[in-house]
């Protein structure tokens, strides 16, 4: 089986991968649907199950969406993929800034962030200006935006407003844009199978997060920072890290790494992703909201987009720059 897959052309390999992933998703969705039409003799228990199922189908929906985005990106080429990730950035930033107390004076900076910085950053990624896209936001934009805000002549909570805007840009645009940037890296002897690298990152980080989440439900260690998160504790964090990194080592075949390198790289990505998730939780606590979504009270009860992608936003830049530095690309 392994050798059969190994002997396929890169395109066939990526295709096979999508067939497998879509197959798994269909299976999972079908199971969820079957469970949803099942009747329970006990009402209270049934209600509990239904609630569980609801959150699971939320996760499934996001997974479908993510995989579809990857698939469309893969069959249509780099620029469509970039546009899709750009849209994800756009919606994530919209969520982030809705809950930040911006004032009228910030209007011009916001226009710049959404309609100039975001497209420019993705254009820099797409055209392969690596040195520029790594510094464009932290250097140039971070000096330009406060200037625009200052010119609006409103000193009230100036530092706070700017800090929030810059954080939003850093996480939602800068972080997210590093995911499609993986497509542009040129590894020797890797036949441009970079879609695998992107998938590798997502799988490894998601595995780490999901494992951490599931372990926290089973073991009842006291939370390490109860004011920030009721669930985060170092024990389940380590278990999540182990799961993510081991999966990374197992998946070394689809990456340009040898297993040891893959382990180390996934370790770094998982650490950045899971700890970044904690940081985003702290931001949410600061705003007094449970999830990122307009108003802080989602009508449907589902989480916002940012809740699902925040770990990726932290993992991607760290992973990207580690890989680039290590392989000297």
């Amino acid at each position: 089986m392994y050798f059969y897959l190994k002997n396929l052309t890169p395109t066939q390999q990526v295709g096979a991968l999508f067939v497998i992933v879509f197959g798994l998703l269909v299976l999972a969705s079908a199971t969820a649907f079957m469970l949803s039409i099942r009747e329970y003799p006990d009402d209270a228990q049934g209600e509990q199950r239904r609630q569980n199922l609801k959150s699971i189908s939320g996760v499934l929906r996001t997974s479908w969406l993510m995989v579809l985005v990857f698939w469309v990106g893969w069959i249509t080429g780099d620029w469509v993929a970039l546009t899709l990730f750009g849209l994800v950035s756009f919606f994530a930033l919209r969520e982030f800034l809705t809950l930040s107390p911006t004032r009228r004076g910030d209007h011009r900076s916001l226009v710049l962030a959404f309609f100039v910085v975001l497209p420019l950053q993705y254009w820099l990624v797409g055209s392969g200006h690596f040195d520029m896209f790594a510094v464009f936001i932290p250097v140039y934009v971070f000096l330009a935006l406060p200037l625009v805000s200052a010119l609006a002549n409103d000193p009230l909570r100036f530092l706070e407003r700017n800090a929030k805007l810059q954080w939003g840009i850093m996480v939602c645009i800068y972080g997210m844009s590093h995911v499609p940037a993986l497509m542009m890296l040129d590894f020797p002897r890797y036949d441009k199978k970079n879609a695998f690298l992107m998938l590798f990152l997502v799988l490894v980080v998601q595995t780490c997060m999901v494992t951490q989440h599931l372990v926290t439900r089973r073991v009842h260690s006291p939370p390490s920072a109860p004011q920030i998160s009721h669930s985060f504790n170092w024990r389940s964090w380590w278990l999540g890290m182990a799961a993510g990194s081991l999966l990374g080592a197992l998946l070394a075949g689809i990456t340009p790494f040898v297993p040891g390198q893959a382990f180390a790289m996934s370790f770094i990505a998982c650490a950045a992703g899971s700890l970044g998730h904690l940081v985003m939780k702290a931001l949410k606590r600061d705003r007094g909201i449970p999830i990122w979504r307009g108003e802080g009270k989602g009508v449907t009860g589902a989480g916002g987009m940012l809740d699902r992608i925040d770990s990726l936003c932290f993992a991607a830049p760290v992973f990207f720059h580690s890989v680039r530095w290590y392989f000297d690309l």
Partner: protein, 203 residues
């Protein structure tokens, strides 16, 4: 045709920019004659509440717009007549006619209307005192259902004086129907209506 395209474009735009969430809290969307009244902070309010209504209600629900502002250029006039099908009212009191005349006409035709009883766009957190037009309409058309609505966040999308809108999640919350009570004074009713709108901010 052009108007249809424009309305589709505006609907898409408002969805991308604001998510255009409609939250029906006190009543379902229903095809009965209604007077929606809401807070007013931005020009985008009109588009926002229009987009929040379901397609079927949009065609029979007409907003009120100030004649002097919205007929200034041919484009503005076309937008408000062909796309939104608004009812113009004149703000200057020099005209002899009753300023509510066009509204009464529309209500007599069976249309629902959208009203911003503050009369002009406000800056403050809370809406300004409501004007008497709402009371007069409600008294003359007691069969029309009065629905308060709170438009949230739109002032961040397009503050007064700005041209380029910014994406922010917004929502329109529709509240429970209310009515002018037996021999209720104008002032008391307007205060109650304003409170009903403000109360929707926190649901």
């Amino acid at each position: 045709m052009l108007a249809k395209l424009m309305s589709l474009f505006l609907l898409g735009l408002i969805r991308v920019l604001t998510g255009s969430q409609a939250r029906w809290h006190g009543c379902p969307p229903k095809a009965e004659q209604r007077i929606y009244f809401a807070n007013h902070q931005s020009h985008a309010d009109l588009v926002m509440i229009w987009a929040a209504l379901p397609q079927e209600l949009r065609t029979v629900t007409r907003a009120i717009a100030a004649r002097d502002y919205w007929t200034k250029t041919p484009f503005k006039q076309w937008l408000t007549t062909a796309v939104f099908n608004v009812i113009y009212v004149s703000r200057d009191r020099t005209a002899d006619e009753d300023p509510l005349e066009p509204l009464l006409e529309a209500l007599a035709n069976g249309d629902s209307i959208i009203l911003f009883p503050e009369g002009t766009r406000g800056h403050a957190e809370e809406p300004q005192p409501f004007k008497a037009g709402l009371y007069n309409l409600a008294c003359k058309f007691p069969q029309a259902v009065l629905i308060p609505a709170w438009i949230n966040n739109v002032q961040h999308v397009l503050p007064k004086g700005e041209v380029i809108p910014v994406p922010v999640l917004c929502s329109v919350t529709f509240g429970a129907p209310m009515q002018v009570q037996e021999c209720e004074e104008c002032k008391a009713f307007l205060t109650r209506a304003r409170q009903a709108v403000i109360a929707l901010r926190d649901v």
